[in-house]
């Protein structure tokens, strides 16, 4: 009897320790990033940090351009990607014959596995020159980054939307069809409203993917540390700025990069919070 209790005790404590290590890792991460960004807040100050000018030689460490870049490319990626992704999910769940469905699902999964550097490289060598010749600009910028991000969020949004649509009971759809609703009416008036919370989660998770993406965006965004004049003029995002500057910066400049990291971290945490809230609403609706 004693032996059993001992073993229980050991298993319990081991699992507890493992869980603590994970939690500790997250806490330490936030702590470290926050600590490293302190000099930026104390020496440069928040006003300077959130200004629009990045000129370290002159003591200016503003991240507003990069924050704007991040929000713009993320929004652009979602704007382009969401209709395609939800459209695909609708096709997959409502219309596709079984064979096409399995092939397409496989394809979407494959797309999810494409390394971001490959997408960025394709964007840089094929898409950017194409935009350049079409618009006469450099070809890099928010438009190019948005298109790449759209391709990257499509698998995420499609897969989760598909689950959300499949979770709507068949009986709801049958009821609509039996009332004389056409397929489109059934989709618009019954399926989409019933799946809405799940679709929202899909978009938010896609947003999470887009907001933190670095490599693919870095290849097509510019680079330039100024507000873009158009959708096809060079700029920067938080992630690409950190990537480019991190090797050669020290002191307050380095610290301001950590401050950008902190902002990014807070943005992602906000997104997770949003997912939580939406999921909870979903449960109370059932």
């Amino acid at each position: 009897m004693q032996g059993v209790i001992d073993r229980e005790w050991i298993v319990k404590k081991t699992l507890f320790t493992l869980a603590m290590i994970t939690v500790l890792g997250i806490v330490l991460l936030i702590f470290f990033v926050a600590r490293e960004s302190i000099p930026a807040f104390t020496e440069a100050g928040p006003v300077n940090l959130f200004s629009a000018t990045w000129n370290p030689g002159n003591g200016q460490y503003g991240m507003l351009v990069f924050l704007t870049g991040t929000l713009a490319t993320t929004a652009g990626g979602l704007l382009l990607g969401t209709p395609l992704a939800i459209g695909s999910a609708l096709f997959l769940t409502q219309m596709a014959p079984r064979r096409a469905r399995s092939i397409m699902t496989r394809g979407v999964e494959l797309l999810a596995g494409v390394p971001s550097i490959v997408l960025g490289w394709l964007g840089f060598t094929i898409m950017v020159p194409w935009i350049r010749s079409a618009t006469g600009s450099t070809g890099t910028g928010i438009l190019a980054a948005s298109i790449i991000l759209a391709i990257m969020v499509i698998p995420t949004i499609t897969t989760i939307s598909k689950d959300a649509l499949e979770a709507v009971p068949e009986s709801h759809l049958q009821a609509a069809y039996a009332m004389g609703a056409t397929r489109w009416q059934t989709i618009r008036r019954v399926l989409l409203p019933a799946a809405k919370p799940g679709l929202l989660v899909a978009v938010i998770l896609g947003m999470g993917r887009a907001i933190g993406e670095t490599m693919a965006v870095a290849l097509v965004i510019g680079p330039a540390s100024v507000f873009p004049k158009s959708l096809t003029s060079p700029t920067h995002t938080l992630t690409t700025k950190i990537l480019i500057e991190m090797g050669e910066s020290t002191g307050v400049q380095r610290s301001s990069l950590f401050a950008m990291g902190l902002v990014l971290l807070l943005l992602s945490m906000l997104l997770i919070l949003l997912v939580r809230l939406v999921s909870r609403q979903k449960e109370t609706m059932r």
Binding site: A175, A178, M179, G180, A181, P193, A194
Partner: protein, 260 residues
């Protein structure tokens, strides 16, 4: 105008799902403003037969009909026949109550809105009228704007009936509407159907023989000979005769509970 007292006339109807023959040689005349019940053991194709009447089988991959199904003189499987129009005239209530995850009001207003009614007052009137006809209005009149999913099973099923009534159908098909309900809720549905039959033609599939006997004017008994065979009508006639003096020995054995 087609006037012989029959709403539906099924003639030598076969139903296939792919290569599988589900029903064979179904001949059935369904009288106007009567309740016709379809009884039979599980898997005999009685629900499939019901779904032939509003072409819900169209949603099944590989479903196909031979023979004819005539509604008011028109073959509903005719190439030019409008399925949407058919389903407006022939409403359906399912085995498990399936209100939409919307408010009570929006559930009842779903059909009218589908057919383009937008006017607020008209909709209000239809919703109230339909809920009254479905004997539900008194229970829900103060919570029309709350979720339909908060209602009890019996109330949900009456809401589904109200949802069908809201588009003013001519026929109501019910697929074992009481199988998920307790006896009191069942009683209320049966009372309701008896009231409704003066205005609507009602076809009900039921597992419950007492229900068929209590409720219906005509009864069709379906069965399959052996596993894998298609379902057929064994006997069809007025309910009294079927339950008191069945001509077929198999009908008698079924209704007296000796198999099925």
């Amino acid at each position: 105008m087609h006037e012989n007292g029959y709403k539906f006339e099924l003639e030598e109807m076969d139903l296939y799902y792919g290569d599988f023959k589900v029903l064979e040689d179904v001949n059935l005349e369904i009288k106007k403003c009567c309740i016709t019940s379809i009884i039979g053991p599980s898997g005999c194709g009685k629900s499939s037969a019901l779904r032939c009447l509003n072409r819900m089988n169209d949603l099944v991959d590989g479903a196909r009909i031979e023979g004819s199904v005539v509604l008011d003189g028109e073959d509903i499987y005719d190439r030019n026949y409008s399925v949407v129009g058919l389903r407006k005239r022939v409403g359906m209530v399912f085995q498990k109550p399936n209100p939409f995850p919307k408010t009570i009001y929006d559930n009842v207003a779903f059909g009218p809105r589908l057919y383009g009614i937008r006017d607020r007052e008209t909709l209000d009137g239809i919703v109230e009228e339909s809920l009254k006809s479905a004997a539900l209005f008194e229970e829900v009149k103060d919570k029309l704007r709350t979720s339909a999913l908060a209602l009890s099973g019996g109330q949900q099923q009456r809401l589904c009936i109200a949802r069908v009534l809201a588009v003013q159908p001519e026929v109501i098909l019910l697929d074992e509407p009481c199988s998920a309900l307790d006896p009191i809720a069942t009683q209320r549905i049966e009372d309701l159907l008896s009231d409704l039959k003066t205005r609507y033609t009602i076809v009900i599939v039921t597992h419950n023989m007492q229900q068929a006997a209590r409720l219906s004017d005509y009864t069709a008994f379906f069965m399959i000979e052996e596993q894998g065979d298609p379902g057929k009508i064994v006997e069809y006639g007025d309910t009294n005769t079927i339950f008191t003096k069945p001509t077929d020995e198999r009908t008698e054995r079924y209704i007296t509970g000796r198999f099925g």
